[in-house]
């Protein structure tokens, strides 16, 4: 089964095509937040490179976040529309899973952290398991200092990966057991998305289009302000 993977959760946006033979073609860009402009032409480009007609795609995988809201919605809306037009199922994968997966060959605790702006990170903890990684904490949003304190308390060797780790690097400076993965692996990749979706497709772990929704982890500001107003004395 051929899989189209779409990933737009961070400042990077990309797409990839692959299946049991691995990834056949991929494209990504991380400049200028041109997700909406670049994504559809990029899908056309990788199809051409892989010499595949879009009609041959049997599954659409999409990064459901957490990440930057507007970018995330460009990818989710695009992926849903392609799946709807092709009448094929979908698989949604978390951006944090996509960060942890490529750096899994370690016995250390893996922490994936995406820049959530406003001095906060979206993060989750992972362990390597045969064939992949297992998430051992729910994705959450918190300050870099919160995460640093959490890691200090764990007193364990840690591999910290993601653009959030780089953005708030100084928060982790004093932690001798924490190593930050280089910039080259700090964005979720569409290639990893295709690989992870393929493993789930083999188990027929498919999702209907309507069940695919972005993982926001934050409520809209207006609702937060409203809630605060209600609880005010």
């Amino acid at each position: 089964m051929l899989i189209l993977g779409i990933e737009t959760a961070t400042v990077q946006a990309g797409c990839a095509i692959g299946g049991h033979e691995g990834v056949l073609a991929s494209a990504h860009s991380a400049k200028g937040k041109r997700h909406a402009e670049n994504l559809t032409p990029a899908i056309a480009f990788i199809c051409e490179q892989a010499q595949i007609e879009l009609s041959e795609i049997g599954l659409v995988a999409v990064d459901i976040g957490p990440g930057l809201f507007t970018g995330l919605r460009v990818g989710v809306a695009t992926a849903k529309a392609v799946a709807f037009a092709l009448r094929v199922p979908m698989i949604g994968v978390s951006s944090l899973d996509l960060l942890a997966f490529p750096v899994r060959f370690t016995s250390r605790l893996i922490v994936a952290a995406i820049d959530a702006r406003r001095n906060e990170l979206y993060y989750a903890l992972y362990r390597q398991v045969p064939g992949g990684v297992q998430r051992i904490s729910e994705p959450t949003v918190g300050s870099a200092d919160d995460l640093a304190s959490e890691l200090l308390a764990l007193s364990e060797e840690v591999l910290l990966v993601g653009d959030g780790a780089h953005r708030y690097r100084e928060a982790f400076d004093g932690l001798t057991k924490v190593e930050i993965v280089d910039q080259g692996n700090s964005f979720p990749s569409a290639a990893s998305l295709v690989q992870l979706a393929h493993a789930r497709a083999l188990r027929e772990d498919f999702q209907q289009i309507d069940s695919i929704q972005p993982m926001y982890l934050r409520r809209p500001d207006a609702e937060i302000n409203w809630a605060t107003r209600d609880s005010a004395p």
């Binding site: 041109r34 909406a36 402009e37 670049n38 994504l39 559809t40 032409p41 899908i43 056309a44 879009l54 009609s55 809201f69 507007t70 919605r73 460009v74 990818g75 989710v76 809306a77 695009t78 992926a79 849903k80 529309a81 392609v82 709807f84 037009a85 092709l86 289009i209 309507d210 929704q213 972005p214 926001y216 809209p220 500001d221 207006a222 609702e223 409203w226």
Partner: protein, 337 residues
Amino acid sequence: MSDAELIILGIETSCDETAAACVRGGTDVLSSVVSSQVDLHARFGGVVPEIASRAHNELIIPVTARALVEAGLDGSRIDAVAATTGPGLIGALLVGVSAAKALALTWDVPFISVNHLEAHLYAAFLEDPELTFPLVVLLVSGGHTMLVCMEGHGRYRLLGSTLDDAAGEAFDKVARFLGLGYPGGPAIDHEALSGDPEAIAFPRSMMDQGLDFSFSGLKTSVVNYVRKHPEVSTADVAASFQAAVVDVLVTKARRAAAEVGATALAIGGGVAANSLLREQFLGACATDGLHGFLPSRSMCTDNAAMIASAGWYEYRLHGSSSLATGANPNLRLSTIA
């Protein structure tokens, strides 16, 4: 295939309505589905962009699917996909643009970028294809207030626009101040039914000057008047405020039609659903001997049939748009000199 047979799927997500429609040959509406988010925004007294974007993302596929089902069409029967690319809320626009481009790519049909303002102008042609040029359109909504002269398809001249608040915005703000709820247009329209429109002489800003509008002074006058006269009847305030807005809109629309020698006058946008405006507009057209066009109420507010229709004209005039098209929240009406 002839242009008259072309079936265009239109998609609209520029503000708080998620809409999709199938239109054949620019005027034959096969289906038009509008899912309003008004209930989601009501408690905030206005559209909250992030809430709107989230709702569009949930609704875009179900609404599109329903538009196809109601038209009795399979995706393979769609000849082109048109979407609003601006103006509007950027996060909201991007959902519709992204979905539309992906559908066009997957079905291997042209994508057409549509200007939301142009689509409102074409709402008139959807219901009255006999309209002739030059045509003056008064476009009044929560985001816009403008007078446009259409000299031909795709040929517009902006005659005047608001210098501050849009007319619909004034309705929303005054309704909120009077505690009448959201959206303000229908609320004031209803309240005004039991009020006296001549009870309070609110100012008619810039009544004698040109074709531009100003509504922020009127809104301030309402607030000041009610603070000074707390015992005043809310219905009288609503009726008098509405009369002032409508008076200015109709006077300037007539002046515009006379200045350009228009043969027809049309109104569009959400405020065109206002009862008093509809009544006075038709009366003015009859007096001036103009062919007046009043869209149905469902065509006044945001919908995708007008997007598909404008897309059809756009496609005939300029062909398809690039799949690298993004959204432009500040898109203007491209005008001729």
